[in-house]
């Protein structure tokens, strides 16, 4: 029976990681669902939905040799696939400021209190080494008004700049 798993892989970035992992999975008869793969710092990170006939240990036996060869750590969990039920975000929130501990925690706590449901978040550290800056890009869903969320962010965060835009999706 087709079972779905989430595989997480992390390791120092090098050429060919995605190709080698996905080829090994293909060779074992697995299929990919949605994935997110990106470089964070000098690390390459992979989160991917994998569908396969067989249990977790079978999947681990497929991934292990490649992961070992590429020096990647990995983790596998059985999941519900839940494909074909995307939520369309209606807010885009950009936050940036001088890097300091707590930006993400502060901003996302305020968002959670404002009943903003994050569908996508990524953050990067930019600027130079002495004066790093932190940039957060968020897509989210909420029934609240933008002004309400802005007020909440204004009250509870300082030293960060943010902008909230509504996303209207045209279906044509």
């Amino acid at each position: 029976m087709r079972q779905w798993y989430m595989i997480a892989l992390v390791g120092k970035d090098r050429a060919g990681i995605v190709a080698q992992i996905t080829e090994a999975l293909l060779g074992a008869g697995a299929t990919l669902g949605e994935t997110s793969m990106m470089r964070l710092g000098c690390n390459f990170t992979i989160m991917m939905m994998v569908g396969m006939d067989g249990d977790e240990s079978k999947l681990c036996r497929v991934v292990e040799p490649v992961a070992k060869q590429l020096d990647l750590h990995f983790h596998v969990d059985e999941i519900e696939p839940g494909l074909h039920q995307h939520q369309t975000p209606d807010l885009r929130i950009t936050v940036y400021g001088a890097d300091r501990p707590g930006i993400v925690a502060q901003v996302t706590s305020v968002l959670a209190e404002s009943e903003v449901n994050i569908t996508d978040l990524d953050s990067q550290v930019g600027g130079d080494q002495e004066k790093p800056i932190y940039i957060l890009m968020i897509e989210a869903l909420s029934d609240r008004d933008v002004e309400e969320i802005e007020d909440a962010l204004n009250r509870s965060t300082d030293g960060v700049n943010f902008r909230i835009e509504e996303i209207d999706t045209l279906i044509g």
Binding site: H86, T169, L170, I171
Partner: protein, 168 residues
């Protein structure tokens, strides 16, 4: 009538110009329009989306609103666009699009902010139009269908933001 969804081949094919503005064609336009209005969203449709490979699309943003404040969207009402030709593009903006022919996926697409176009109506009369903003986006999306182009052909990264672009 039924919406044809990608990966059906015909959505990637170019449509033929309309040459006969007869009763049969007008009936089809009427049917397509009421079909469009019955769909969720229902602000635009192109003939190939129901399998008719002719250069016809319909756009009508009447009653459409944007955002949580439900701001009305400026529009010029019902536009029957037969053999449309966009003749002028001005400005560009990023916006989120989806398509009845591509269920369960939305993505960012850059479109011209203002356009000028010529098109015939269902009776064969020629018209010139100017359009901007959301309506112009809808027209560009629908007109693309007539050339076998989907918004998938124009996707830009989820992380693309005009804010970033302007900094360059």
């Amino acid at each position: 009538m039924k919406i044809i969804t990608y990966p059906e081949d015909i959505l990637k094919q170019s449509c033929d110009p309309v040459t006969k503005f007869d009763q049969e064609f007008q009936d089809f336009v009427a049917e397509l329009e009421s079909f469009m209005r019955s769909q969720p969203g229902g602000i635009g449709i192109a003939a190939p989306q129901v399998g008719r490979m002719q250069r016809l699309c319909i756009v009508d943003l009447t009653g459409m609103t944007r955002g949580k404040k439900k701001k009305p969207v400026p529009n010029q009402g019902r536009l029957i666009l037969v053999n449309p030709e966009i003749t002028k593009w001005e400005g560009f903006e990023l916006g989120r699009e989806g398509c009845m022919s591509v269920p369960d996926y939305t993505g960012n697409v850059i479109r011209a902010t203002r356009i000028e176009l010529t098109a015939f109506d269902e009776f064969g009369n020629s018209h010139n139009y100017e359009s901007e903003g959301y309506e112009a986006r809808a027209i560009q999306h629908e007109a693309d269908h007539l050339d076998g182009l989907l918004f998938l052909d124009r996707l830009v990264s989820r992380k693309t933001d005009l804010f970033k672009r302007k900094q360059k």
